[in-house]
């Protein structure tokens, strides 16, 4: 990949015009996921749960959740799974290369409203990526929040993301429980889907907010389990993945009934989407 020195044309104001973000670090996390640290041309003020449209000329663009905490600096961290042509090309990038980005877009998690609450994070696979932004934002203000619990389900132990950070978060007082679908020899942790971790958990329904990020199939069962813990729809937040082409509420791809995932989402409260068929 060539490196791009010049900034974009200063007059450019089309909402489709991306800005060049410089890759500072590109680290392989697992077989499929790479972690990127980027420097944006201008400071970025995002809310955890928001996303960028990330692209390479000739390959197109895709929505990618921001993985770094709220910061107000030029630094952005992304974790990208290789699933197609664009992400395959992105995985070939290294330090000094340029990614073209637009955003941040969408509505993130209402972090301020979650202060003083116990937070129950439920992540499935790559769902930990947007959640990491929220977790790290909260850990930066650890005393503003109650108990922090992370339930993290992955297919197999080598798909666990941010292994070192998980240890740090534990040291910062987070209760972390991991489960795998398919254990390897030597795995001595939990086995089974993530809902198996919810049953034994003590949840104070008067002050707990649940944050769910994972594949569609996970939501259905996790929501049922959380219902058994008496959590209300207004206290459950989830981030919905959809195909997106513009990020501007125009192209129509991310529409879920009358809601656009790129405008009213991707983070929704369960109460807001429960009545929308096709949402979950």
């Amino acid at each position: 990949m060539k490196s791009y020195a010049r900034q974009r044309n200063a007059e450019a104001a089309s909402p489709y015009t991306p800005v060049p973000a410089r890759v500072e670090e590109a680290v392989k996390l697992t077989d499929r996921e790479m972690f990127f640290v980027l420097t944006m041309p201008a400071p970025i003020d995002h809310t955890p749960g928001q996303f960028l449209m990330v692209g390479l000329p000739g390959y197109g663009e895709a929505p990618i959740s921001i993985s770094s905490p709220r910061c107000g600096t030029r630094r952005v961290e992304l974790c990208i799974r290789e699933v197609g042509n664009l992400t395959r090309a992105i995985h070939r990038l290294g330090q000094g290369d340029i990614l073209w980005v637009r955003g941040p877009f969408g509505r993130g998690f209402p972090v301020d409203e979650m202060e003083r609450k116990d937070i129950l994070f439920v992540a499935g696979g790559i769902g930990l990526v947007p959640m990491r932004s929220l977790i790290k934002t909260m850990l930066n203000k650890r005393r503003s929040f109650g108990r922090l619990t992370l339930l993290y389900g992955v297919k197999s132990p080598d798909e666990i993301l941010f292994k070192e950070e998980l240890k740090e978060w534990k040291r910062a007082g987070m209760d972390i429980r991991i489960t795998v679908d398919r254990p390897h020899p030597g795995w001595d942790g939990n086995v089974g889907v993530v809902t198996t971790l919810i049953g034994p958990l003590r949840v104070d329904d008067s002050k707990t907010v649940a944050v769910l990020v994972g594949p569609p199939v996970m939501y259905k069962y996790v929501i049922l389990s959380l219902g058994n813990k008496k959590l209300r729809g207004t206290e459950i937040y989830l981030s919905l993945e959809r195909r997106m082409k513009c990020g501007l509420g125009k192209c129509g791809h991310c529409q879920i009934n009358s809601a656009y995932a790129c405008q009213e989402g991707p983070v929704f409260s369960l109460a807001d989407i429960r009545h929308l068929n096709e949402a979950i």
């Binding site: 489709y16 015009t17 529409q255």
Partner: protein
Amino acid sequence: MGTMEIITRKDFRRLVEGLLGDYTLYGPVEKEGFPAFARIERFSQLRLSRTPTHLSAKEFLFPPRETLLRFDLKNGDVREVVDAQNQAIIGLHPCDIHAVNLLDRVFSYGTPDRNYLARRKRTVIIGTECTPDEYCFCSSLHTMTVDRGFDLFLHETERGFIVRTGTKRGRRLLERYTSATKAEKADLERLERMVERKEKMFRTRLDAEPSQLPLIYRGADSSPVWDRIGRVCYGCGSCNHVCPTCYCFDVKDDITLDLEDATRYRVWDGCTLEDFAKVAGGHNFRKARSARLRHRFNRKFRYLADRFKGLFCVGCGRCSRTCLVRINISEVTNEIIRETKER
């Protein structure tokens, strides 16, 4: 309504020839026996048509393929492309103008879409009167007449045209190219009679008021109609293609063989096509054709109604007219209305 004047057929010809000089002009021509919108280069090509065209005129405001950005890969630069020239579209029927008004709302909603809006601003719209065929049902959606969204609207009479002026630009065109005279009371009455006559011609009607349709559709998510039409639908996307208010698009990239330049462009997309709601990794949020059709019908009558303050069906009947397996939007809607009344 704005002001009303009378022009003669000669005036009309002068108006069209004036437009030909100053604008790229599009209007209905005869193509293999059918009316179709096309570029007009001589007055004689223009065939004002009272019957609807198969394709809408949206392509002149929202091209099927439109470049958004050009990347200069050698220098690491990107430039936006906004391609807007003075153009005029003549021969839009009231439903088509209602559709343009909806597209205007869509593309100015939230973050404005400069590509569409720049082109729209430089587009003169001249409406003409129509006669409904068996698929038209605009009278049921209150889109049979229109009073904004055009520069001029021409109602053909035996002697010439009654002209309604919708904008200052329309007024200037009228003054510049014609010797319009003030309409008299008799002309206004004639216009009213024409509207009344047109209303009586509709063979297709919806059995509910447009304001009731969002709620009726809301109650129809599990109607058997979706499976029934889903079973015959080819998922070909023709309904999206011909619809004057379908505006969904895909964004793609092209790169030159020397890898020095790339373009990012948008192309029309359609929610009835299989891949429309498919995400990387393969999950398809609307895998079944029945789910995609339900989505499309709901987009026309319910999903967008609140956000854009209006239904996204203008009753032009194009989707029904073009559907290979005869899925008919007014029949489906009437079936849903019937189910609702029976509940």
